[in-house]
C-alpha cells in the first residue's frame, strides 16, 4: 500500500517537473468548467447571462493565487522555484559574457590546478591497490633511527619471516623492477630484441595480493620451489598489447628473457600494475630462477648479505597491525642474530622492523615526493583562495551595478531569502561551469606534473582518467568555492535599501561603504597571498640554484654510461673489456679524459666499509664507516676532482696484488673529510689503513683530494677513499665516464658503435650527461621550485587583475566625484595621485599582512631550504619590489582613464 503511494507520488512529481505546462492547462480547464457550471446555476436561478458570468467570476476569486496554491499543493513547489532560478541565472550570465568568461576561466584554472595535484597525490599516496581487500596489506620496512628507513631485506630474512609468522596470512617477496632486462621473442630474428621491465617475485606473489590472471594463470608456489623453479612468466596487459599485439595464442609462447628461455603462462587484467604505484613492471618471473638469470650457479643474491628484496604481507583474519609487528620484530631479530649481524652485542642497535599500511601499495617514491607534493598542494590551495577573492570582487562589483534590479524585485514582493537564493544559484552555475572546465584542464595539468617528476628511465604512469575520488574532490571544491563566494550576496542583501537605490540615478551608488570595504579587503587579501607564494617560490628557486650550483659547471661536458651485454662476461673478460673501452674512449675524438668506477655518481648505491688506520684508537661508539670508490685511473681528472696533495693512481698501481704477493703496494687516495676524521689537520700521506674485516690488507695513502658530493647534493660529503679498481677488482655494476672538450652529444651518439667495435655483443645503456644526473637528483627541489614558481606567477597575475578591476570599478563609480573635482580646478596629476595613492595604499597594507604570513610560513619551510634562510631579506625585498611595481602598473591604467573624464559630459550624464 505504501509502495503504491510512493509510486504515485513519484509519478506526479515527475509530471510536475516535466509536464508543467500540460498540468497548468489542465488546471485552467478545470477552473473554466467550474466557472461555466456556476454561471449555468446562476442563469437557472434567474440571472441574466452577463451578470451570471460576472457573478461566477467574482465568486471564484483571484484565479492566479488559487493556481499558485494548487501548484504548491501539487508537491513540486521547491523544484519550480529552482528551475526558475536556474533559467534566470543562466540568462543573466549570458547577458554579461565578459564577466562570465573571466569568472569561469579564473575558477577553471584554479580548480583545475588543484585537481591535477590531487590526482597525482591520489594515485601515488592514497589510491588502494586493485586487489582483494587491500586494507589487509602491510609493507615491511626496517629503521635504524628516526630518518633512517630501509626498504630492503635479504632472502634469508624473507624465509625466516615467512616460516616464523603466525599473524600473517601471507608474505611475498619481490625484487626491484629492472627496466633494462633484455627480452627477445623467439619467433623473431636475434637482432630484434627489446627491453622489458621485469620483476622477480616469490611464487605466492599473486596469491597474497589476491588477484587472478585475465588469461591463463598466475605464478603459483609450485613454480618457485627452492632448487627446481619453473621457467614460466606472467606478463601485464599493456605489455601484451604493446609487444605481442594482443596475440590470442600468447599462452605457452616462448621468449628469451635475459638469455634464459621462459614460457608465458598468463596475462594480467588491465587494471593490475603490480604492487608499486609508479613502477609498471611488464613481466613477473619466479625468483628462484635467479641463478639462471644471473648466470651464477651459487645463486649469490639469494644468500645472506644481499639485501635486494622488498616484502609485503597480508594480515591474517583477526590479526591487527601492532600484534603482527611485534611478532615479526621478534622473528626478525632472531634472524639477524643468527646471521651474525649483531654489532657490539647490543640488541638496541639492531634495526627495528616496522609495518606500514600497504593499502596503497609499496613505494619509496612516496618518501621522496610527499614533501614537495604537500607544498604544492598548499600553494594551489592559496591560488584557489586568490581566485575566489577575484571572482568575489567581480560579483560584488556586479552586485552593486545590479542594486536597482534587486530593489525593484524586492519592492515587487520578493523575499530576501528568495533574492539570496537567486544569487546563490548564479554562483553555483559559475562554479559548476568552472569545475567542469577545470576537470578538463586537469587532464593536461596532470600530464605536465608527471613530466616534472619523471624518474630517470622509469616512466611513472598512472591511470589519469578521472576516477571517483578525483570527481568527488572536484565537486567538493566547487561546493566549497560556492560557499566562499556565497558569503558575498548574503552580506550584500542586508544592505539593499530599496527606497534610496530606486531614487538615485542609474548605477552610481558612489561610496556604498560596505561593498567598497569588501572590495578593498579582497584586494588586500590577494596581494598578501601572492606575496607569500612569490617569496616561497623565490626561496625554492634559490635553493635549487644553490644545490645545483657549481656541480653544474664542474660537470659540464661529462657523460656517464653503463655497458650492457647479453651474456655475462667472466671476471677476467670484464677486466679486459674495461681496459679496452677506456682506452678507446680516450682516443676517440672530442674526448679529453675517460675513466670508470663502480656504481655511479649521485647513485643511491655505494659501497660502505669500515675503515681503520693503523694504530687508530677507535672510540666505543665511533662511526668508522666510509664510502669507497673503486675507480679507474684518471677518474679525478675526468670528474674534475682537485688533487690537493700527493698523486693519483698510476699504471703500476694496477698490478693485481694477490693475497700472498705483497710486493705491489696497495694504494689509496682519500678525501678531505676522511683525512680530517682520522688525522685531524695532520698530513695523511704515507699513513696506512685497512678495512675492518681484512686487517692484513693494508692500503697506503698516496693522495688527498677535495671533498666531492656523490650520493646527494644536500648532505655533506662523507669520508671517502678511492682505490684502483684494476688492482682490486670487485663485483658490481660499472659506470664509465668521459669528459669532452666541447658538446658531448656527438660522442654520446657514437658510443654504441665504439663499444660494438670491441665486442659485437656489447651495447650501452643509461647514457646520461651529468647535467641530467644532477637534475634527477634534485627532483624534489625542482618540482617545488618550478611548480611553485609557476603558481606564484599565476597568483600574481590574478592579484593584479583584481587590483585593476577594483580600481577601474572605483573610477567608474566615482566618475561624478572626479568630474566635480576637475571642475573645481583639480589637475591631471591631482586626480592621478588621488587614485594611485589609493591603489598603493591597498598594496602596502597587503604587503605588510603578507610579510607576516611569510614569517609564519618560513618556519615550516626552513628545513627544505638549502643555502638560504626562510626569511632571506634579499628574496623578500626583491619580491616585494616586484609586486609593488606590477601593482603600480595595474593601478596606473585606470587612474589614467580617470584623468580623461570630461567634467561636462560626466555631470550632464547623471
Amino acid at each position: 500500500m505504501n509502495f503504491m503511494n510512493w509510486m504515485r507520488r513519484g509519478r506526479s512529481l515527475i509530471q510536475a517537473l516535466f509536464g508543467k505546462d500540460k498540468l497548468d492547462a489542465r488546471m485552467d480547464d478545470e477552473m473554466r468548467s467550474h466557472i461555466e457550471m456556476q454561471t449555468q446555476e446562476h442563469i437557472e436561478a434567474g440571472m441574466k447571462p452577463e451578470e451570471a458570468r460576472y457573478a461566477a467570476l467574482r465568486q471564484f476569486g483571484w484565479v492566479e493565487s488559487i493556481r499558485d496554491i494548487c501548484r504548491d499543493q501539487r508537491g513540486a513547489g521547491g523544484f519550480e522555484t529552482l528551475r526558475q532560478d536556474v533559467r534566470y541565472g543562466a540568462r543573466m550570465l549570458l547577458k554579461n559574457p565578459s564577466f562570465t568568461l573571466i569568472a569561469v576561466l579564473t575558477l577553471a584554472l584554479a580548480i583545475g590546478a588543484n585537481t591535477a595535484i590531487f590526482t597525482v597525490v591520489n594515485a601515488l599516496l592514497l589510491r588502494p591497490l586493485p586487489v582483494r581487500n587491500p586494507e589487509q596489506l602491510v609493507q615491511l620496512i626496517t629503521s635504524s633511527g628516526p630518518s633512517q628507513m630501509n626498504y630492503d631485506f635479504s632472502y634469508q630474512d624473507y624465509q625466516q619471516l615467512l616460516d616464523g609468522s603466525r599473524t600473517l596470512a601471507g608474505l611475498f617477496c619481490a625484487m626491484g623492477v629492472n627496466s633494462s632486462s633484455r627480452l627477445t621473442v623467439s619467433s623473431q630474428s636475434a637482432g630484434e630484441s627489446d627491453f622489458a621491465r621485469g620483476q622477480g617475485v616469490s611464487g605466492n606473489f599473486f596469491q597474497v595480493l589476491g588477484v587472478s590472471a585475465a588469461l591463463g594463470r598466475t605464478l603459483a608456489p609450485t613454480d618457485d620451489l627452492d632448487g627446481s623453479p619453473q621457467p614460466v612468466a606472467v606478463i601485464s596487459h599493456d605489455f601484451w598489447q604493446r609487444r605481442f599485439a594482443g596475440d590470442a595464442t600468447i599462452i605457452g609462447k616462448n621468449v628469451d628473457f635475459e638469455g634464459v628461455p621462459f614460457t608465458i603462462i598468463g596475462v594480467m587484467p588491465p587494471s593490475f600494475f603490480g604492487f608499486q604505484p609508479g613502477e609498471n613492471p611488464e613481466l613477473w618471473w619466479p625468483l628462484q630462477m635467479i641463478p639462471q638469470i644471473d648466470r651464477d650457479p651459487s645463486g649469490r643474491r639469494l644468500k645472506a648479505g644481499y639485501d635486494s628484496f622488498r616484502l609485503m604481507g597480508r594480515l591474517g583474519p583477526g590479526a591487527a597491525t601492532p600484534q603482527a609487528e611485534a611478532e615479526l620484530q621478534i622473528v626478525f631479530q632472531r634472524s639477524q642474530n643468527q646471521a651474525g649481524h649483531v654489532e657490539n652485542g647490543s640488541a638496541a642497535q639492531l634495526p627495528k622492523l616496522q609495518l606500514r599500511s600497504g593499502q596503497a601499495g609499496w613505494s619509496n617514491l612516496r618518501r621522496q615526493l610527499i614533501q614537495p607534493l604537500i607544498i604544492l598542494t598548499a600553494a594551489v590551495g592559496v591560488v584557489l583562495l586568490i581566485a575566489c577573492a577575484n571572482v568575489a570582487s567581480l560579483l560584488l562589483a556586479r552586485g552593486v551595478a545590479r542594486a536597482r534590479e534587486f530593489s525593484v524585485r524586492s519592492a515587487l514582493g520578493a523575499t530576501r531569502r528568495r533574492l539570496v537564493r537567486q544569487s546563490l544559484t548564479e554562483i553555483f552555475l559559475l562554479t559548476s561551469l568552472g569545475g567542469i572546465m577545470g576537470l578538463l584542464l586537469a587532464q593536461g595539468g596532470t600530464r605536465l606534473l608527471l613530466a616534472f617528476i619523471q624518474v630517470q628511465s622509469n616512466a611513472i604512469s598512472f591511470k589519469i582518467a578521472p576516477d571517483a575520488p578525483v570527481l568527488l574532490f572536484t565537486s567538493g571544491l566547487c561546493l566549497l568555492t560556492s560557499f566562499l563566494l556565497g558569503a558575498v550576496p548574503a552580506m550584500r542583501s542586508s544592505t539593499v535599501d530599496v527606497a534610496s537605490s530606486l531614487k538615485s540615478s542609474a548605477g552610481t551608488l558612489a561610496g556604498n561603504a560596505s561593498s567598497n570595504r569588501w572590495l578593498q579587503s579582497m584586494v588586500v587579501a590577494q596581494v598578501a597571498f601572492s606575496l607569500v607564494l612569490l617569496v616561497g617560490a623565490g626561496l625554492f628557486i634559490r635553493t635549487l640554484q644553490n644545490l645545483v650550483g657549481d656541480t653544474a659547471s664542474k660537470w659540464k661536458n661529462v657523460v656517464q654510461f653503463s655497458p650492457d651485454s647479453r651474456e655475462r662476461p667472466s671476471a677476467a673478460k670484464m677486466k679486459a673489456l674495461i681496459k679496452e673501452i677506456t682506452a678507446r674512449l680516450e682516443t676517440s675524438s672530442g674526448v679529453n679524459a675517460a675513466s670508470f668506477y663502480l656504481f655511479g655518481v649521485l647513485s643511491e648505491n655505494r659501497i660502505t666499509q669500515k675503515v681503520l688506520p693503523e694504530g687508530y684508537p677507535q672510540g666505543p661508539n665511533e662511526d668508522v664507516r666510509c664510502k669507497g670508490v673503486w675507480a679507474g685511473p684518471r677518474l679525478f681528472e675526468t670528474l674534475g676532482i682537485e688533487v690537493i696533495q700527493g698523486r693519483v693512481f698510476t699504471a703500476q698501481d694496477e698490478l693485481a696484488a694477490g693475497v700472498t704477493n705483497s710486493a705491489a703496494r696497495r694504494v689509496a687516495v682519500v678525501n678531505q673529510s676522511l683525512a680530517r676524521r682520522y688525522f685531524g689537520n695532520g698530513d695523511p700521506l704515507g699513513k696506512r689503513f685497512y678495512i675492518q674485516d681484512q686487517p692484513e690488507k693494508k692500503f697506503e695513502i698516496v693522495g688527498l683530494v677535495r671533498d666531492e658530493k656523490y650520493a646527494s647534493l644536500r648532505e655533506d660529503p662523507p669520508p671517502t677513499f678511492y682505490v684502483p679498481f684494476l688492482q682490486e677488482p670487485r663485483g658490481g655494476p660499472i659506470s664509465f665516464v668521459f669528459r669532452t672538450g666541447g658538446d658531448p652529444r656527438p660522442s654520446m651518439a657514437g658510443l654504441r658503435q665504439l663499444v660494438g667495435q670491441i665486442d659485437p655483443s656489447l651495447n650501452v645503456k643509461n647514457v646520461k650527461t651529468m647535467h641530467e644526473v644532477v637534475n634527477a637528483n634534485v627532483r624534489q627541489e625542482r618540482i617545488v621550485a618550478q611548480g611553485g614558481g609557476f603558481f606564484s606567477i599565476f597568483a600574481l597575475a590574478l592579484a593584479c587583475l583584481g587590483l585593476y578591476g577594483v580600481l577601474s570599478f572605483a573610477v567608474a563609480q566615482r566618475t561624478r566625484e572626479i568630474a566635480v573635482r576637475v571642475a573645481l580646478g583639480a589637475q591631471n596629476r591631482n586626480v592621478l595621485s588621488l587614485l594611485l595613492g589609493e591603489g598603493v595604499k591597498l598594496v602596502l597594507v597587503g604587503l605588510s599582512i603578507g610579510l607576516a604570513g611569510v614569517g609564519i610560513a618560513s618556519r615550516f619551510l626552513s628545513s627544505l631550504l638549502y643555502g638560504v634562510s626562510g626569511t632571506d631579506p634579499v628574496t623578500i625585498v626583491s619580491v616585494s619590489m616586484l609586486l609593488l611595481l606590477v601593482a603600480l602598473l595595474a593601478s596606473w591604467l585606470p587612474a589614467r582613464r580617470a584623468t580623461k573624464v570630461d567634467p561636462m559630459v560626466a555631470l550632464r550624464d547623471q
Binding site: 449555468q40 488559487i66 499543493q73
Partner: protein
C-alpha cells in the same frame, strides 16, 4: 487561535469532501453544491479552499481524478474515493465524533 481554527477547518473540510464523494464520483463544482445542500445551506465552500483541498487530497492518495463528461455535456474533472480514502473517512469520522463529544461534554459542564 486563528491558526488552530484554520487547521480544524482544513481537516474538517477534507472530511466533508471525502463524505461527499462517498455518494459517488463528482466534479469540483458538484462537490461544493453537494456540501451546501447536505448542510442545509450553512456551509458554503469557497473555490479558494475547495480546489487546494482537492489537490491536497489527491496528493495524499485519498482521492483520484479522471476527466469525464458532466450531465450538461461539458468536460469536467471527476474525483472519486480510493480504498485508502474510504478508510481515511472512517478514521476521520470517528475522530470527529470523539472530538465533538469531548467538546460537548466540556460545554455542558459549567
Amino acid at each position: 487561535m486563528p491558526k488552530e481554527k484554520t487547521d480544524l477547518l482544513q481537516g474538517t473540510l477534507d472530511m466533508l469532501i471525502l463524505k461527499a464523494l462517498q455518494l459517488g464520483p463528482m466534479h469540483g463544482f458538484g462537490i461544493s453544491v453537494l456540501i451546501r445542500q447536505m448542510s442545509k445551506e450553512v456551509l458554503q465552500v469557497e473555490q479558494g479552499s475547495l480546489y487546494p483541498a482537492l489537490y491536497r487530497l489527491e496528493d495524499q492518495g485519498w482521492i483520484e481524478s479522471e476527466w469525464g463528461v458532466s450531465d450538461n455535456n461539458r468536460k469536467a474533472k471527476f474525483y472519486k474515493l480510493t480504498p485508502t480514502g474510504r478508510k481515511q473517512l472512517v478514521d476521520e469520522r470517528s475522530n470527529w465524533e470523539r472530538l465533538s463529544a469531548a467538546i460537548n461534554s466540556v460545554l455542558k459542564t459549567a
